[in-house]
Amino acid sequence: MARMHVETTINGESAEFLCQPGESLLDALRNELNLTGTKEGCNTGDCGACSVMLDGRLVPSCMVLAPEVEGRSVGTIEGVAQGDELHPLQQKFLEHAALQCGICTPGFIVAAKALLEKNPDPTEEEARYWLAGNLCRCTGYDKIIRAVLDTAAEMNGTNGAATNGAAG
């Protein structure tokens, strides 16, 4: 089958790739662009391991067709840290031991970042419902939720409400 040529923006940089018309964005990221930080847990939109930002919206990349990102802007886990400087969420996940095996972690960080951009001061309940689309089987979520709430508290305390850094 003829492959399609797609031009897009990924983590702020222009990118292009060839893909099958029916290929998912997840597969294109991982297999065509070697951005393997985005993980596959189910390929049916049920686990959140493949979470990315598409034009500033949180989406499961396994549920998006790769050709759909033509001319749009994609943000992945690889774009969350600035060089070797971790995003506060990444730092807090480490400090709180909010990961065990770590396979869910990229998806949680992308999803939590989207949450804090939309709602810089979520309650525990809001965080739990926002992240309900991300499965973690190792942690029981306790330390993940704490890491997210602690990040929000720190960002609000030290950085005010600076939430203008949309990745996608």
């Binding site: 099958q20 991982r30 070697n34 951005l35 393997t36 930080g37 985005t38 993980k39 596959e40 847990g41 189910c42 390929n43 049916t44 049920d46 686990c47 391991a49 992945t76 886990i77 690889e78 969350v80 840290a81 971790l86 990444q90 996940f93 480490l94 400090e95 709180h96 031991a97 990961l99 065990q100 095996c101 770590g102 396979i103 869910c104 972690t105 990229p106 960080i109 525990e124 309940e125 965080a127 739990r128 419902y129 992240l131 309900a132 689309g133 991300n134 499965l135 973690c136 089987r137 190792c138 942690t139 029981g140 979520y141 306790d142 330390k143 993940i144 939720i145 704490r146």
Partner: protein, 753 residues
């Protein structure tokens, strides 16, 4: 025992592999890519039970891009008595047939053929061209059906192994039966003031690791094959694959990838031997990644169980007798955790009279695999539910009842072995005095408590420590890091050597590069591989002392080791202490590089105990329930990295809560799994759970140099019962069939009126 003051053990540093994992840089099984790599896929049986008359692969072989095709008979036909795997417990002829069926397809989704092609799409297209001629057979889908005298038989050669009792001596689906007993059961029940008896059932439940099984293989220039992938043991993968493919161990190297969860489910092989065989056959690298549906249909969840428990007690709370009859569905090949359930179910208690019988039952479903403390959560459901009921009957606090019957040092386990120092009573006391236990309940809420026991695995481990010229250290092991193990490796080495945590680099190496280690599982790695690290570090220190003695020109016993420095003792006290870095700088002049390897196989590792408290809120209109508060109390002996100990406690509890409330395999009447997706196999999500409080009790384990105990498995043992007891408290009706899903809750409520 040891009153040692620790400097690093018990602290909470950031894990060494953390940055890789929060930035997406860490490579898991599916992230492997090699030039010219093929993609492998599997053809699976559409029937739960069918004879394979023939397989025609000719059309598939001609399909575009196909480079190699494999069917069961391409694998070596292994003798039935050939064993492999951990402690040689695996019948390789069965495992081979589970990886690729030979004579019979034994469950819906059973692999019958595999092929590799130049793209995944080409492979998926080609595999449909394989023509299998099946003769459909009647499937055996339930325990009662499987053990009936006229049941269809899965394997003609199977006879009941173990203590057969009065079971007949012919072809059977009861693969084994074991018994444990103590005292005189009849007298014990005759002594009781109260006797309760219940039947329980639990469903097939999947480990639910988020990373599907993934592996890749290539054949190297020297004829050695290399297998990459995520698993709970690179040596385990190697041994199983060389056994199945009849290779010399040196002809296969296994390189561990990061692993995205296992919980026991990645302690066996599925595609691994196939990917090696396909790589050899095609002479190209091959990768195989399961889909989530394949994970659900064709890997190894934990067994469904049917159990009958009976217990008698005096009004003062003394349990006088208890019995348990346990049946578990092994799936298509022998090996359910029925025996472990039997070993553990009365483990926490001093019951003077008991009898337990456990049966491993073959059915036409996928082959069960280990799942975190295999069998123990089901056994605990029986014991802890009846204890709860007795406490109500005699009007005693349920923790008090457990305290009256709790095992302590000197009491004997179910197997008759005396317990050394253990911390069960301490967990009960900590639970009893926890604010949670006294907090008032809201409307429609119930509270349950339950305890559990797990014996923890020992087995073999190795570790290697080498010292760099700048005095930093590399510690290398063959145990995969599933949940923060590298942090523990570094903490242990830092503690022994007396150098900062950051000066230790922990690495997990391939099977050619480090001494043999058994799997990461059985709650053994931090304890047992940890012992190997301690041993290797002590050897390194002895050598560093010897080098210092040489430099100071004194006897070895005039050099001590303190806080990462060689210090003069026994008359050599005038010498300035030398830091590890200073000693290392002189290695070339004092005898060359310093490194040490140690291997251990401990005789005992010490068991673990835990006690959980669960508050459940039930909506009696809809039957929906929610855990609103949960506390896990556990004896960790000595927590090496408390955050990861807490993480194990919280993760284990939430998996148990999932089995208790929602998770189950649902089959249709033909043995087809109806819910092979995360949407329909409902694992807890963040909004289903509250924060999970943890209390780490530390009663030092005499079997470990730091007093540490295994912590990974015990937290999944009590939750099934803790949730069921909370449900009974909330409803006023005892529920004994898991999961306690909304329809079941409504059913129980309507029966009650």
């Amino acid at each position: 025992m040891n009153e040692r003051k620790f400097k690093h053990i018990g602290t909470r540093p950031v894990r060494p592999d953390g940055v890789d994992k929060v930035t997406g840089r860490a490579n898991y099984g599916a992230d492997i890519d090699m030039p010219g790599m093929l993609h492998g896929v599997v053809l699976r049986s559409p029937y739960a039970h069918a004879r394979i008359r023939s397989i025609d692969t000719s059309a598939a072989e001609k399909s575009p891009g196909v480079k190699a095709v494999l069917v069961g008979t391409d694998l070596p036909d292994l003798p039935r008595d050939l064993k492999g795997g951990p402690e040689n417990h695996v019948t390789l002829a069965d495992l081979s047939r589970n990886c690729l069926a030979r004579e019979t397809a034994l469950y819906h989704g059973h692999a019958v053929a595999a092929l590799a092609a130049t793209s995944l799409e080409a492979a998926q297209e080609a595999v449909q061209k394989i023509v299998v001629d099946y003769e459909e057979l009647e499937p055996v889908l339930e325990i009662d059906q499987a053990i009936a005298p006229d049941a269809p038989i899965l394997h003609d050669h199977v006879r009941t192994a173990g203590m057969r009792g009065d079971l007949p001596d012919g072809p059977t689906n009861i693969a084994s039966r074991i018994e444990f007993s103590r005292g005189n059961l009849e007298e014990g029940f005759a002594d009781a003031d109260v006797v309760v008896e219940r039947e329980f059932s639990t469903p097939w439940a999947h480990q639910g690791y988020i990373e599907p099984h993934a592996c890749a293989a290539r054949v190297g220039e020297d004829g050695q094959a290399v297998l990459y992938g995520s698993s709970q043991g690179q040596f385990l993968m190697r041994d199983l694959c060389v056994g199945l493919l009849q290779l010399e161990p040196g002809k296969l190297k296994v390189v561990p990838a990061e692993i995205g969860g296992g919980f026991g489910g990645k302690t066996t092989v599925y595609n691994e031997p196939l990917v090696v065989a396909l790589a050899k056959k095609s002479n190209r690298p091959v990768k195989m990644v399961m889909t989530r549906e394949e994970v659900f249909r064709a890997t190894g969840p934990t067994s469904a169980s049917k159990m009958r428990f009976k217990m008698g007690a005096k009004r003062d709370g003394t349990i006088t007798a208890a019995s348990a009859s346990i049946y578990m569905e092994a799936g298509a090949f022998p090996g359910s955790p029925a025996g472990a359930a039997a070993m553990c179910c009365f483990g926490p208690y001093t019951f003077p009279n008991f009898s337990i019988e456990a049966h491993d039952v073959l059915v036409n479903k996928l082959k069960s695999a280990a799942y975190r403390a295999p069998g123990a959560p089901m056994g605990a459901l029986g014991t802890e539910s009846l204890l709860d009921e007795i406490a109500r009957e005699i009007g005693m606090d349920p923790i008090e009842l457990r305290l009256r019957n709790a095992v302590q040092q000197g009491d004997t386990s179910t197997l008759g072995m005396p317990y050394d120092r253990i911390g069960f009573i301490e967990t009960l006391e900590a639970a009893k005095s926890h604010p949670h236990y006294k907090a008032p309940l809201g409307p429609n809420q119930g509270r349950g408590v339950a305890s559990g026991y797990w014996f923890n695995a020992g087995m073999q481990s190795s570790a290697n420590i080498s010292i760099h010229a700048d005095g930093s250290a590399v510690v290398a092991c063959g145990s995969p890091d599933i949940g923060g193990w590298r942090a523990s490796m570094a903490l242990i080495a830092a503690e022994e050597l007396g150098i900062p945590y950051e000066r230790v680099r922990p690495v997990v190496l391939d099977t050619d590069s480090v001494g043999y280690s058994d799997l990461t599982g059985g709650s053994r790695t931090t304890v047992v591989t940890g012992m190997a690290i301690i041993e290797a570090a002590r050897q390194v220190i002895d050598e560093l002392r010897a080098r210092t003695a040489k430099m100071w020109d004194v006897e070895l016993d005039a050099v001590g080791w303190q806080d990462g420095c060689a210090v003069g003792v026994n008359g050599a006290g005038d010498n300035e202490p030398m830091t590890l870095a200073e000693i290392a700088a002189g290695f070339s002049a004092t005898g060359g590089p310093v490194n040490a390897e140690a291997s251990v196989v401990p005789a005992a590792t010490g068991p673990s105990f835990g006690t959980h408290i669960c508050d459940l809120e039930v909506d009696k209109e809809t039957g929906v329930s929610k855990v609103v508060r949960y506390t896990v109390v556990q004896d960790a002996g000595k927590a090496i990295h408390p955050s990861y100990v807490e993480g194990q406690m919280q993760g284990g509890a939430s998996q148990g809560i999932g089995i208790a409330l929602n998770e189950e395999y649902i089959y249709d009447e033909k043995g087809v799994l109806e819910n092979p997706s995360f949407l329909d196999y409902r694992m807890p999500v963040a909004s289903d759970l509250p924060m999970i409080d943890t209390v780490i009790v530390e009663v030092p384990n005499p079997a470990h140099p730091y007093g540490a105990r295994g912590v990974g498995e015990i937290p999944i043992v009590p939750p099934l019962a803790a949730v069921a007891n909370a449900m009974s408290d909330a409803l006023g009706v005892r529920m004994t069939d898991l999961p306690l899903s909304p329809p079941r809750v409504l059913g129980a409520l309507s029966e009650d009126v």
